[in-house]
Symmetry: C2
Subunit: 271 residues, 2 copies
């Protein structure tokens, strides 16, 4: 079955209603879809309001991740599994798609390794933060997803995942989407965010990179992208395509019919 | 298939971990279970913390319900679908049961009629509150539950439900549990709360009513129960038994092995 995986980011400005309307319309045409969503900006807002403001760790590699103690994990679950997931499911239902929202805990849908000790950089020194509830997803319960897809449902998936020891773990939504796309040999993997795609000179939207042909990844113009601040996104996409995904598109989630636009090539196409 | 439906209340004092441990152990023995949970006390706490304190309406019949505007609905979803549902799923997974948490929105699992205009009593007058997101569940998507049960999952269900117009609606968890029990002709329907069962003289735990034989509902001692503040619970249980449920037990959710105790007759048994 031809599947499309769509990751909807959690940044300000993304039009969830437009995403849901577009996804539902594709679903009604018989397209099999799996949605994965974020929720970071709303998590920050709720965490502030609850007096437990977000804290972030900068890793030695340069990536930034949310420090996830148990209290943060609970807020994370409230926003991702409660607020954002059910809002998307409600929109999708209203637009006629029979959506089912699940976290990675449910049916051990997304299982992986908890990383209790996380390296981070502070004042130029590498330090270790212990007791974090974060990790990396390594396994998908494809049987459960197949059960839902075969019965005609539209799965709407969200972190947290579950560790092998059955703890909830905060995990990167982009990686989950890529793993799902590879698992299904998806014809497309679409990342919707609040910019039109990958930008050579962020945040200049005029510097949109239209295409990254992975055969030419060593060319200077692409090499720069694959090593700069976009490294993780670009290399994740390259890995997905090498893993059998038809194409990866980074596209704008602030517009009407964002998924169809992405599929028609608007944004940054990696193939 | 013999099914047991367990409703875990949302009041302070209930031991969710003990409930999960007991449910998981029954599930591992091959018992099919459906869990339904509340979350009212934590919703009140989070709503206060977010500066949107809970408000309640007293209906002409004497029942009290949460005033559910859109903002309250979002907080409700955060706590019920996010915090409480995922906590229960995580506990169950840790105790070895493959739980899947779903709200009534997911797959239109619990569908019903939205009641936009709600009558309530204030200063002795009957008034009407409009724009509420509450309602009554009338339909269960049994096909989806069967799909999960047959594949060996343990469903953990929570309000909100979904209206026929695809809006999320706050709905009574006890009624959902009763509807599910009737739908499955459950051998038992267990209500776990922070008291040992139905109390003739609330909150005197020594006044526990051991049994309500529905054939003797007209006897003065039972009639009083069926008309007092327990009316809704008692009549709900009576309806469930008349609808084909083996027995209904109101039992203590603060103790170890609360489900097994209830099934062995500790609490108030309606049959």
């Amino acid at each position: 079955m031809a599947v499309i995986v769509v990751k909807v980011g959690g940044a300000e400005g993304i039009d969830y209603e437009a995403v849901a309307e577009d996804a539902a319309s594709l679903w009604r045409e018989g397209q099999r879809l799996i949605l994965v969503h974020g929720g970071s900006s709303e998590t920050n807002r709720i965490a502030e309001a609850l007096g437990h403001p977000p804290r972030f760790l900068t890793h030695p590699g340069g990536q930034v991740s949310r420090l996830t103690d148990r209290k943060t994990l609970e807020i994370f679950e409230m926003v991702y599994c409660g607020l954002v997931n059910k809002r998307l499911v409600e929109h999708l239902q209203r637009f006629g798609a029979n959506a089912v929202g699940l976290s990675g805990l449910d049916g051990r849908l997304l299982e992986g390794r908890r990383k209790t000790a996380v390296k981070y950089v502070e004042d130029g020194k590498v330090k270790i933060h212990r007791g974090d509830y974060t990790g990396t997803v390594e396994r998908v319960n494809k049987a459960l997803l197949d059960l839902l897809l075969s019965a005609g449902y539209l799965p709407v998936l969200t972190p947290p995942a579950i560790s092998y020891e059955s703890e909830a773990i905060n995990t990167d939504g982009d990686s989950i989407a890529a793993l799902l796309a590879v698992t299904y040999g998806a014809e497309a993997l679409v990342f919707l965010s609040n910019v039109p795609g990958l930008l050579a000179r962020y945040p200049d939207e005029g510097s949109l990179v239209r295409e990254i042909p992975i055969a030419r990844l060593e060319d200077p113009e692409y090499l720069a992208l694959a090593q700069g601040r976009m490294k993780r996104k670009v290399m994740g996409a390259v890995e997905a395509v090498r893993g059998g995904v038809g194409r990866v598109v980074f596209a704008d989630g602030r517009v009407k019919t964002p998924i169809r636009r992405a599929l028609s090539g608007e944004g940054t196409v990696v193939r």
